[in-house]
């Protein structure tokens, strides 16, 4: 038999005030919590209130292991050859319902496409993992105040995200746009002991118990990191941005003692103008570019003839030198020397000087 319910409500319909905000439970109820639900019955028999009846049930909230490793930002880290302490940034979030340790491994991808395109062609060295110190230094960026980790994050509380820096050194002699991919993988470990890495966690297999079981709930990470394995990972990469310099030398005859500047010939006494063009086809500017040229013994340098920072038409070395610039440089027999402060990526500059034929 069924009973009709009073759908109007017998206690009153007055609008009810509640200022309590609904709390956010991203990771949820702490593992091991016992949830007890109790229902009570009030009733009357023959118009007389009877004793209240109640019934309860309870169950234990199990442990959900969930974590997220994310690269911060979606750009590669530009590095130059020989750079030390090149930084890639990751974020680790504990979305489990229990405080846990997280084992960390920073590994290098071997070949294949890196996180931001390009093919992995080299490995960085001296790879370290730092945890951002949010109390001192530059919060969110790597600095000397950050904590060097020894393979794990200790006691990361529920619903907390921390910033991790993978810091590495870049080998010298690398070509422009060379790429090194790195992977940061975090694996949940038992929490509870401060200052020591907890034991590995396994998912409760087979028949489950009424106590606290463990369920892996993480999503798949990079290739090879499956969903629901208690770990998560993400890729980032380093891209070499270096100056690639090309040098070309050209010359022209300015004048000779007989033809002067009209169709001059390379006879003794003729003035020859040399142009050393330096082009930068790399990704970043080259600075303090020192150009050195030894004047051949058959020539005599024309004092004060050095012009620096001139232009070049076309692509070095197939274009032509414009034989211009501003006075500068120095001559210490037999070398002509000039320093160009900056050659921007994709630009070319020249050093021009004159000499007479002996």
């Amino acid at each position: 038999m069924t009973s009709k319910l009073n759908t109007v409500g017998i206690i009153g319909l007055a609008a009810i005030t509640s200022l309590a905000a609904t709390p956010a439970f991203a990771a949820g109820t702490t593992a091991g919590t016992t949830i007890t639900n109790t229902a009570t019955v009030d009733y009357q028999v023959g118009g007389v209130a009877q004793g209240q009846q109640s019934a309860s049930n309870n169950f234990t909230v199990d442990r959900k292991i969930n974590l997220l490793v994310e690269e911060v930002g979606t750009v590669t880290t530009n590095v130059v050859p020989g750079q030390t302490n090149a930084v890639t940034t990751f974020q680790l979030t504990n979305s489990s319902n229990e405080t846990l340790d997280f084992a960390l491994v920073a590994s290098q991808i071997a070949g294949g496409t890196a996180a931001h395109g390009g093919t992995d062609t080299f490995d960085v060295t001296n790879v370290r993992i730092y945890r951002d110190n949010i109390a001192t230094g530059t919060v969110g960026s790597w600095d000397v105040g950050d904590t060097l980790l020894t393979g794990y994050v200790d006691e990361l509380v529920v619903d907390t995200a921390i910033r991790l820096f993978v810091v590495a050194d870049v080998p010298a002699s690398l070509a422009n746009n060379a790429v090194a991919g790195v992977t940061l993988r975090a694996t949940a470990r038992e929490g509870g002991t401060v200052g020591a890495q907890g034991a590995a966690i396994t998912q409760t297999a087979g028949a489950n118990t009424a106590g606290k079981d463990t369920v892996f709930a993480d999503i798949a990470g990079v290739t090879g990191d499956a969903a629901r394995d208690g770990s998560h990972s993400d890729n980032d990469d380093y891209t070499v941005q270096t100056a690639t310099l090309t040098v070309a030398k050209s010359s022209r005859v300015i004048s000779d003692p007989f033809n002067n500047t009209t169709n001059p010939k390379l006879i003794p006494g003729a003035v020859v103008e040399y142009c050393i063009a330096v082009a930068n086809s790399g990704g970043v500017a080259a600075t303090s570019v020192v150009i050195n040229d030894a004047v051949p013994g058959q020539l005599t340098f024309v004092p004060g003839s050095i012009l620096l920072g001139g232009t070049y038409t076309g692509t070095v070395p197939s274009g032509t030198c414009d034989f211009n610039g501003t006075a500068g440089g120095s001559y210490t027999a037999p070398n002509v020397t000039g320093t160009i402060a900056t050659i921007a990526a994709g630009a070319a500059q020249t050093l021009v000087f004159r000499a007479t034929v002996n």
Binding site: S3, I16, T22, G28, I35, Y43, Q53, V61, K64
Partner: protein, 154 residues
């Protein structure tokens, strides 16, 4: 007159001994799992709450029965929600709910929540703190029924 005396006597007693056998209430909880088979059909399974993690949907089932010899009147079942469970719905059982810890009651769609800026918004299932079913008719002797509601583990 004999009956009235009997009831008076009953009311003067501690009461529990008499009432204990009048109404039986059972309270069960299940985890609701939705699985999709190879044909894409969804199946809903109710499982024992062995593996329960935050986000799981729970079904609470209350079975009641009047085991006494007389009708049970003013029959009210009250169920405070466990702190770690967020109310979802109560099927078609249309319970009264409270969103302020049991002080005020009403249908969920008639309740509002004050916002800090002085306006009010409609109450949401997540605001519910208590559920109550108040029966308008007596439960006859031997009568029984079942109530349910759903919640989500926070």
């Amino acid at each position: 007159m004999r009956k009235a005396l009997f009831l008076l006597f009953a009311a003067l007693l501690p009461g529990q001994a008499l009432a204990a056998n009048h109404v039986a209430l059972a309270n069960d909880v299940f985890v609701e799992r939705v699985t999709t088979d190879a044909q894409g059909k969804q199946r809903i399974l109710l499982e024992e709450p062995k593996v329960v993690v935050p986000g799981d949907r729970l079904v609470f089932v209350l079975n009641y029965r009047n085991a006494g010899a007389q009708p049970a009147d003013k029959f009210v079942i009250t169920n405070p929600l466990p702190a770690a469970v967020s109310f979802a719905d109560a099927g078609d059982t249309r319970p009264l709910v409270s969103i302020d810890g049991g002080r005020g009651w009403g249908q969920l769609d008639q309740l509002t929540v004050a916002l800090p800026d002085g306006t009010r918004r409609a109450a949401q299932p997540a605001d519910v703190t208590h559920i109550r079913w108040a029966f308008s008719k007596p439960i006859p002797a031997g009568g029984s029924g079942k109530l349910m509601f759903r919640g989500v583990v926070k």
